[in-house]
């Protein structure tokens, strides 16, 4: 899980549930930037991310009563955000791109480990972010859920509507897409390590 909030949100949540505007303000101030960044990574455009962030917090207001205080608020919040973003993307039918193929259909070529290491060393965070933008929505969504929100495989399976056993495949395929987008696909795909 990513780093938790600086303050314990329990009190804020209790107050926010009773309609305390200040508590809502504090919750928003604390969590909106992280949720915006989540949306920014998951959604195709900045404007979409802004809209999605607002909508998530609107939804949060209605759903706060469903939050189980025994769980991590951050994890729950990311789950709400992930579900919302994925719903938006699914509604736009953006996932009807190259990802529509079954996740198990196309065998994955194992890359050369040394070349992969070199690629990772040479690429900057900014280049990775640009490459992420080129991925299909499911690949990107899966990577964001796993490496930004630290969602479990079960949660990712639930959000994406795939079987848990396929989550690893989805993530691995997403990494391959990412490597391809980083411009090294031909080299990486050529070698094997068997």
């Amino acid at each position: 899980m990513s780093a938790p909030g600086k303050t314990d949100p329990t009190d804020l949540i209790v107050r926010a549930r009773t309609g305390d505007a200040d508590a809502w303000g504090d919750l928003y101030r604390e969590y909106a930037p992280a949720i915006f960044r989540f949306c920014r990574r998951a959604m195709p455009t900045r404007e979409d991310a802004e809209d999605a962030t607002m909508e998530i917090f609107m939804k949060l207001r209605d759903k706060l009563g469903q939050y189980d205080e025994g769980r991590s608020f951050t994890a729950w919040l990311y789950k709400v955000a992930a579900n919302h973003c994925w719903d938006l993307l699914r509604r736009r039918k953006l996932r009807q791109d190259k990802e529509t193929e079954d996740v198990t259909e196309v065998p994955l070529e194992t890359p050369d480990a040394n070349q992969l290491e070199r690629l990772i060393e040479e690429r900057t965070s900014e280049e990775v972010r640009k490459a992420l933008d080129k991925l299909g929505v499911r690949a990107r969504m899966a990577l964001v859920m796993r490496y930004y929100s630290d969602m479990s495989y079960d949660e990712i399976a639930d959000a994406l509507g795939v079987r848990r056993a396929f989550v690893g495949v989805v993530l691995l395929r997403a990494r391959h897409e990412l490597r391809q987008a980083l411009g090294e696909n031909t080299v990486l795909a050529a070698g094997g390590i068997r």
Binding site: S2, A3, P4, G5, K6, R17, T18, G19, A21, D22, W24, G25, L27, Y28, R29, E30, A32, P33, A34, F36, R37, R40, R46, E50, D51, T53, M54, E55, M58, L60, G65, T74, L108, T110, P111, A113, N114, L116, E117, I120, E121, R123, S125, E126, V128, R129, L132, L143, V144, R146, Y147, Y148, D150, Y153, G168, L171, L172, R175, I193, R194
Partner: protein, 566 residues
């Protein structure tokens, strides 16, 4: 996948290594992979590469590459500012509207009625018998239209608020609105006519519903549909195959209406034929000898004169009535005086409740003797025990209603009670909702917006009206017994508060005003809570500068999963 036997020289496939990095393998399998990577350089290199890839991904995603958008940071503040502006305008409009309504319409009517000896007539009768039918109707309708449209536009803005944040969306919305308005008339199935005098000639046939507004309508031809008439004078010597809905100072139906007549007029005369029922709210209702009503007549009037024929029952509330026609069903009436004159025929049961017994001519033909009941006349000062018993019963009913509301909507109830302590906003919104919504709903019923929307709105308004006392009672109860969020203690406070409110509103003279204040306050609080529920914003402000992830920044070497020690 490739072979995965770590005990041999065969390598572990990438999928398994990834699952190992992600700590998704079971313990036994993880140990096998760990053992293998201790001796296999290639697999160990791959494992490290996958782990570094994870770190790179996490770092890339968490890095602050762009600031938190000002739109998100500031939109609550902006909304609050705009809200304050809207509240000011809304409150100003509401006060202006109420003031205009009172000084322009209610006060003159009250004066007129005082002079005519009807000083104690209540507001409803003022509106029904005098209100909409004098010469100023047109301007009042314009005011109504404006308020109704403003209210509807407000609701539309709320409903579609998230789609109108962008300029382009706004442009599309206004363009669509303009297009809709420009296309509305030709596309409509209703014919609209407006003017000082509108005449539908004898040989003219309108094959749709017909909507008239103006001074004088004369319908000599045929309307194959319903007629909605808003005017000073309406004459129908022609033929209407549907219903006639009439708001006028004076109406005369000498032709034929195949459907029903719903009349809200100062005076109406029927000497033609009505196929079905007549419902009339008038000052004067006349049915001439030649007038025929196929089914029933329901009339609320000051003076009722019935010389024609009613096919079925007559239900009447009046000051004075004279019946000399034929009633095919029963007669049930309440008023000051009733005269059943010579020539009258009543085929069913006849009842009259009034101040003095009815005068029945000896040659009137009644199926059974008229049953008379003396009406009770009460004033504030001679309230009997029954009044107070009913007050207690109603108090219990309101408490029960409150319990149901609290149980069904606990969070909303708490929010409403809290928002009720924002007195300015509550009272301001209360004025708007109490007066504006019924007007808007009333207009909706008679315009293209539709009867369903109008009646639904009225129903909702009525529920809010009834719940107002519960809200105010709870606020007062909390003042007295302290605040609580628990269910039954809150119910206790509500019960105490409601009881107190009922006592105060029972006090003669000031009780009515207190009740008015309670209604304004409670309705405003509920509306405010509803508004807050619809509001899309959450935070007061967030700095528009780069900020880290939740709470503390992610350490540079943070990873998800990571290598397990072999």
């Amino acid at each position: 996948m490739n072979q995965t036997d770590p005990t041999t020289n065969r390598h572990v496939d990438e999928m398994t290594l990834l699952l190992y990095v992600e700590r998704q393998l079971d313990r036994e399998r993880a140990q096998e992979v760990s053992l293998h990577t201790q001796t296999c350089t290639k697999c160990l290199t791959m494992l490290r590469a996958l782990d570094r890839e994870s770190r790179l991904l996490t770092r890339a995603m968490f890095e602050e590459d762009e600031p938190f958008p000002a739109r998100l940071a500031q939109f609550r503040v902006a909304a609050q500012r705009s809200m304050q502006w809207i509240w000011g305008v809304v409150f100003g409009l509401a006060v202006l509207g109420v003031y205009a309504l009172y000084t322009g319409y209610i006060e003159p009517w009250e004066r007129q009625l005082d002079q005519a000896g009807f000083g104690s007539t209540n507001l409803l009768s003022l509106l029904v018998f005098q209100g909409a039918f004098w010469k100023g109707w047109q301007s009042m309708f314009t005011l109504f239209e404006f308020i109704a449209l403003a209210a509807l536009a407000g609701f539309a803005l709320f409903a579609f608020r998230k789609y109108i944040r962008r300029g382009s969306a706004l442009a599309v919305m206004f363009a669509s609105l303009g297009l809709a308005l420009s296309l509305a008339s030709p596309a409509s199935a209703t014919e609209f006519r407006k003017g000082d005098t509108v005449t539908v000639n004898k040989d003219e046939v309108i094959k749709s519903d017909f909507f008239f507004s103006g001074q004088h309508l004369r319908l000599e031809g045929t309307v194959d549909g319903d007629v909605y008439a808003f005017g000073q004078q309406v004459d129908v010597p022609g033929h209407i195959t549907g219903d006639l809905i009439c708001f006028a100072q004076s109406a005369r139906v000498s032709g034929q209406v195949d459907g029903n007549i719903r009349s809200f007029t100062n005076n109406i005369t029927i000497n033609g034929t009505v196929g079905r029922n007549v419902t009339a709210f008038n000052e004067v209702f006349n049915q001439d000898t030649s007038g025929t009503i196929g089914h029933s007549l329901t009339v609320f009037t000051q003076t009722l004169t019935l010389d024609g024929k009613v096919g079925r029952d007559l239900l009447g509330f009046f000051q004075q009535a004279t019946l000399s026609g034929t009633i095919g069903g029963s007669l049930k009436t309440k008023g000051d005086s009733l005269t059943i004159a010579s020539g009258a025929v009543i085929d069913g049961k006849a009842e009259f409740e009034g101040q003095k017994p009815a005068i029945v001519a000896s040659d009137a033909k009644l199926a059974s003797p008229l049953q008379y009941k003396q009406a009770e006349r009460r004033s504030h000062m001679d309230r009997g025990a029954g009044y107070y018993i009913w007050r207690v019963i109603w108090t219990g009913t309101f408490v029960l209603f409150g319990i149901v509301l609290f149980a069904l909507m606990p969070r909303f109830s708490q929010e409403t009670v809290e928002l009720g302590e924002h007195y300015g906003a509550s009272f301001g919104l209360g004025v708007l909702v109490l007066f504006g919504i019924p007007i808007a709903a009333f207009i909706a019923c008679f315009t293209i917006i539709g009867l369903f929307v109008g009646l639904s709105t009225l129903f909702l308004w009525l529920v809010v009206l009834l719940a107002a006392e519960v809200v105010v009672g709870t606020i007062i109860g909390q003042w007295m017994l302290g605040r609580t969020l628990e269910f039954w203690p809150l119910v206790l406070r509500m019960a105490v508060g409601v009881a107190l409110v009922r006592v105060i509103t029972s006090i003669p003279f000031i009780g009515g005003w207190a009740g008015f204040v309670v209604v304004l306050w409670g309705m405003g609080a509920i509306s405010l809570a509803l508004y807050r529920r619809l509001q899309p914003v959450i935070a007061p402000s967030v700095p528009s500068m780069p900020v880290g992830p939740i709470g503390t920044p992610l350490p540079a070497n943070t990873t998800i999963g990571g290598m397990q020690s072999a």
